[in-house]
Amino acid sequence: MRSPDNALEVDQLTRTFDVSAPWLNRVLERKPKRYLRAVQDVTFTVGRGKCLALVGESGCGKSTVARLVTGLYAPTEGSIVFAPDRNGAPMEAQMIFQDPHASLNPRWRVGDIIAEPIREFGLRDSDEATNARVAEVLKIVGLSPDDAGRYPHEFSGGQRQRISIARALASEPEFLVCDEPTSALDVSVQAQILNLMRRLQDELGLTYLFISHNLAVVRHMADRIAVMYLGRIVEEAETEALFANPQHPYTRLLLQTIPDVRAPNRTRALMGGEPPSPLNPPAGCAFHPRCPMATERCGREAPSVRPRPEGGRVACHYAGDSL
């Protein structure tokens, strides 16, 4: 570990997927093997008790990073190192998924869903102790211990997301990876869940890796934000610094494009074009075909990562220049 304050250090993480046609087609049609680079040279750290958010549009690789961090995918290159937890073993990470309708087994009772990680890791000796722990986490997330006997379909979307959070907390992890935890919820329910997550962070000292496409939600939750585009982090900084002074043209356009209830009809530069396919990313800087500041150099040379003036880093040849 580079710093004892870090809970997680991710270094030069790359993940490629083999998306080639089946073998026979390749032989008959003389097609080469094709690889999709979902995540490329991603480096970041998450401080203990902090919240780092990864934002970006669909297909930018943010969910792949979440799955790599929790070990659901193996990295192709690079390293993921967790700091030691209270007991000295590497910190344990749990995950909260986007869709609470799909991530809870409809045929299991809520009590069994939450007890599964406790039983799996052998964290409690007896059934009574397990049930007591289930009741405890249900109370922590604002549900009633009696809910353990009910099935997921008896709950609303927001309550189901509370159950997912309870399941994630059951094994007393110190690190939570939250992949779009409120995207499937209505705004009033989203506010309940975000408030709950903030409270849990304070009470249990949790560290979050928060994945979202919603910049307003991210601003509410995160201490630091990393903006991803086509598998790479293009800018990373403290939340307030990023919002006050975005350096990368993509971040600036993203901030201008999101509709804001409090400031409607502000003059906005619309971002032209659409994100390119990660199967054949543009040469040079991946953002250059959509970038208003792009020059001939951007199409030739991939930008290196440079430090931002007030901390953080940015990958752009002309970062900070006016649009």
Partner: protein, 323 residues
């Protein structure tokens, strides 16, 4: 001037084995020509149901049990299925959430456009095709002459939604129902589509009923907004009035629960609980169990829309007080 849409006291019910459920109760709203009316609410509030009733696409056993619908002055709620089929496309066009399912994958975009154009105008094949290219240009599809022969899967999500908009405009309708038209799209594309919707509605003089759960999109796009809760309109008024000076406690709660881009707050305002199910709507005002301002009258009387602020709201605060 005749209104593009005039809905009066519309009620929709679903007879079920456990009794009749009222999905919509006394919904009244109007859309002027060239105006965008936003309809906002949480899942199950009845906003899509209102759009579907106007389109005559209620799924049986759902049926209109009261009130009337006039599109461009023509009464449409009492038409037969056959007559309604002629109204759709000519008087009212529709844009749905998922552009992939609104297009037929087996026909080229041109075939689908020409079919719709010829159904509603007396153009021949050549004229229809010319008009189709014109429409594709209007919605901003580059290389319209070539793209017209492509199939839906060859378009990206944003481009596909543009095709759907072209399709909705093909019969020169007076009214467009846009049901969550940008929900499936990324933010940068979302802004392009809402901007397009806005200019096209002005140019064609068509009224748009924009149904969405995203208050940000409404604030950016709509002229007026109707807020729905549990099958009723609870507040309707000019967009910046409703956003900045909400008159109904539900709207106020909804606004407070949206994380702002401008400033960070410690805790989001939250409305506790969830919207009641259709079979368990409480007596009196449907919002009273969650309302911070509720008084004894709220549990007995069902409020109707009365003038409040610059618009109107269905709350007893504005109609004789809560006590």
């Amino acid at each position: 001037m005749t209104k593009a849409l005039d809905v009066r006291d519309l009620s929709v019910e679903f007879p079920t084995r456990h009794g009749v459920l009222n999905a919509l109760s006394d919904v009244s709203l109007t859309v002027n020509q060239g105006e965008i009316l936003g309809v906002v609410g949480e899942s199950g509030a009845g906003k899509s149901m209102t759009g579907m009733s106007v389109l005559g696409l209620l799924e049986p056993p759902g049926r209109i049990s009261g009130g009337e619908i006039r599109i461009a002055g023509e009464r449409t709620d009492n038409l037969s299925e056959k007559e309604m089929a002629k109204v759709r496309g000519r008087l009212v066009g529709a844009i749905f959430q998922d552009p992939l399912t609104s297009l037929n994958p087996l026909f080229s975009v041109g075939q689908q456009l020409v079919e719709t154009i010829r159904l509603h105008t007396d153009l021949d094949r050549v004229g229809g095709r010319r008009r189709a290219v014109e429409l594709l240009k209007q919605v901003g599809i580059p290389g319209a002459e070539e793209r017209i022969d492509h199939y839906p899967h060859q378009f990206s999500g944003g481009m596909r939604q543009r095709v759907v908009i072209a399709l909705a405009l093909a019969g020169n309708p007076k009214l467009i129902i846009a049901d969550e038209p940008t929900t499936a799209l990324d933010v940068s594309i979302q802004a392009q589509i809402t901007a397009l919707l806005k200019t096209l509605c002005r140019e064609h003089g068509a009224g748009v009923m924009l149904v969405t759960h995203d208050m940000g999109v409404i604030a950016e796009t709509a002229d007026r907004v109707a807020v729905m809760y549990a099958g009723r309109v609870v507040e309707i008024g000019p967009v910046d009035e409703v956003v900045n000076r909400p008159q109904h406690p539900y709207t106020r709660g909804l606004m407070g629960s949206i994380p702002a881009l401008g400033a960070r707050v410690e805790r989001l305002a939250q409305i506790d609980g969830a919207m009641p199910r259709l079979n368990a709507i409480p007596p009196g005002c449907a919002f009273n169990p969650r309302c911070p301002d509720a008084g004894p009258r709220c549990r007995e009387l069902r409020p109707s829309l009365v003038p409040a602020g610059a618009g109107s709201a269905a709350c007893l605060i504005h109609d004789g007080g809560v006590a």
